[in-house]
């Protein structure tokens, strides 16, 4: 078992069968040693893919994206969550995203300036559940004409259908911890 799975087992808090709280090391308080391990794991898996940039979504994706981009020696780009659309389509790409987890909608927003046709992008995010955020990032990258080399996920809720949706786009998804079940008896991992 890797460092991350051990940490989830020891410090993750089960809220209900869909929600696992990892506030003590991933979302609110961040364990920098663990994050460094996470970044190196992603960098190692995608090392032969000629990644030019890492892309993530604010704000829980920023720490793992930083760690990964630093290990790959490339910059990273933060896609912002806006509450409303911007009219400036010349410099900005936007796409609406629905979060099933939080039951909220936001407009995922990126500046065109930092995404080109020459870019080969690795998307990094903290969680994969229904895949809406990752699909939104993918739409923006496609509109910018960039290539998407793959997706790195810290914690995948494998009992939800996000992976299936992303795989149907032909994407290479690497999840460090795949959770098959969350229950009052504990957390179960795939493989």
């Amino acid at each position: 078992m890797n460092l991350l799975k051990e940490k989830i087992k020891s410090d993750g808090i089960v809220i209900n069968e869909h929600v696992l709280k990892v506030d003590s090391f991933l979302n609110h308080q961040v364990d920098t040693k663990l994050m460094d391990f996470i970044g190196k794991e992603f960098a190692n898996y995608f090392k032969d893919k000629q990644i030019t940039k890492v892309v993530t979504i604010e704000s829980s994706g920023i720490a793992p994206a930083y760690a990964t981009a630093f290990a790959l020696n490339v910059p990273f780009v933060i896609f912002k969550k806006q509450s409303s659309a911007i009219l400036d389509t010349e410099t900005t790409i936007q796409t609406p995203v629905h979060s099933f987890t939080k039951n909220t909608d936001y407009i995922l927003t990126a500046s065109k300036k930092y995404l080109t046709e020459a870019d080969n992008i690795l998307i990094i995010d903290d969680f994969l559940a229904n895949g809406q955020a990752a699909m939104g990032a993918y739409r923006i990258l496609k509109e910018a004409g960039a290539s998407v080399a793959g997706i790195g996920i810290v914690i995948e809720k494998s009992f939800q259908d996000g992976r299936k949706k992303l795989e149907s786009l032909g994407l290479d998804i690497y999840s460090l911890a795949k959770i098959s079940k969350i229950s009052s008896e504990g957390i179960e991992f795939l493989d």
Copy 2:
């Protein structure tokens, strides 16, 4: 001149005499090598202060906070910006903050769980202008009973009064780039 000031000179974009855009290396696209330099600078300045944790405010503070906390070998805690107050004062500390730069209000929010009386905190943020965000973080840390060892700022707008307010609290503020003037002719630094 340090790496950061060189980058501000070469890649910063002057919007008006109050606003400098650093989207290409600090806020939207992040230069990981520069961020590593920033983290090491803060860590070196505060290395004898027995820092137990770094605290920052989402989302532009996360990258420099990560780099600093990693260099100091401590965790970091992300204070969240919420649009409304939470009733749960048993586990959460909140304080209202007004952003003069964006002309918005938010409720700065932290979990009590990760702030104790034994903590000696270093606050890290990307910008210091009117000091409202840093003052908010300070109020939360005081309410939690934690000590505040100092504040590390990536870019200080020294022509605004944030530093003065924080100094009046007796805080040690270390800013990597102190800007005295932003104009169409360029950016001027103090010292």
